[in-house]
Amino acid sequence: MVFLFYLLSTIAIFGAIMVVVSKSPINSVIYLIICFLAFAGHYILLNAQFLAVVHIIVYTGAIMVLFLFVIMLLNLNKQNEPHKKIYVKLIAVISGGLLFLVLIASAKGAEKLTPAITFDGSIGLVGNLGKVLFNEFLLPFEVSSILFLSAMIGVVMLGKKDIKKF
């Protein structure tokens, strides 16, 4: 079980690094899908079965396919993309590492947290999640539908006509 956690973590971090450094966008999408499948494995390990299924359906099934579709539609799979200068890349890596250090330092003290004493293995099942979603979180649920509606209107407006030059 612990071995599975470290295996999935290694796959996720490897996929994430390859997303950033791989040359062609198609390869980046494939590595991001691998990374997301590792995430789904983590969710299953955490007893969040419904979350794992939704994650695979939404991310791997919808969002990444949308990315692939746009890449193929716009024929973006060329490898002669201009790269940033080397010192900008170096600064990017250094600032990422510094952010990691700061976040690690701010998360110190988390080892004092202990798992809940009354462990409930059924919180990730669909029945329990549905009860919580439609009782405590009903208003945010309805508001998210408005968010989707406005996103849809925005996409239709953006894709309608070529708005004059930037």
Binding site: H42, V70, L76, G96, L129, L147
Partner: protein
């Protein structure tokens, strides 16, 4: 089921925190690292997902399902963001015939 739920007791919480923070930092470094807009969008997805993983880990540790409901709302926001972002990308490709983020610097000055 009994075997799987023991994983939460076996793996310390800070390992999940470190994993999520590492993935978040990789995503942020990727946003600064690349010029291709589609890869920048992917890195933003990666950052949102690392936060999702951390929320799910806390929810499992405290046996509280509110964290998993929050993950759904983050997924909603991510889906809307991807739809808008990709349509902006299509419009950018149509207008300036490139997906280089450095060409869109008119707001800078």
């Amino acid at each position: 089921m009994g075997k799987i739920s023991s994983a939460i007791q076996l793996i310390p919480l800070e390992h999940y925190i470190w994993l999520s923070l590492a993935l978040f930092s990789i995503g942020m470094a990727g946003v600064l690292f690349r010029r291709n807009t589609i890869i920048i969008l992917m890195c933003i997805e990666l950052m949102l997902n690392s936060v999702n993983l951390l929320l799910a880990a806390f929810s499992a540790y405290r046996s509280d399902s509110a964290g998993q409901v929050f993950v759904f709302f983050i997924m909603v926001v991510a889906a809307a963001e991807v739809a808008i972002g990709l349509s902006i990308l299509v419009m950018m490709k149509k207008n300036v015939n490139s997906v280089d983020i450095d060409l869109l610097n008119k707001l800078k000055d």
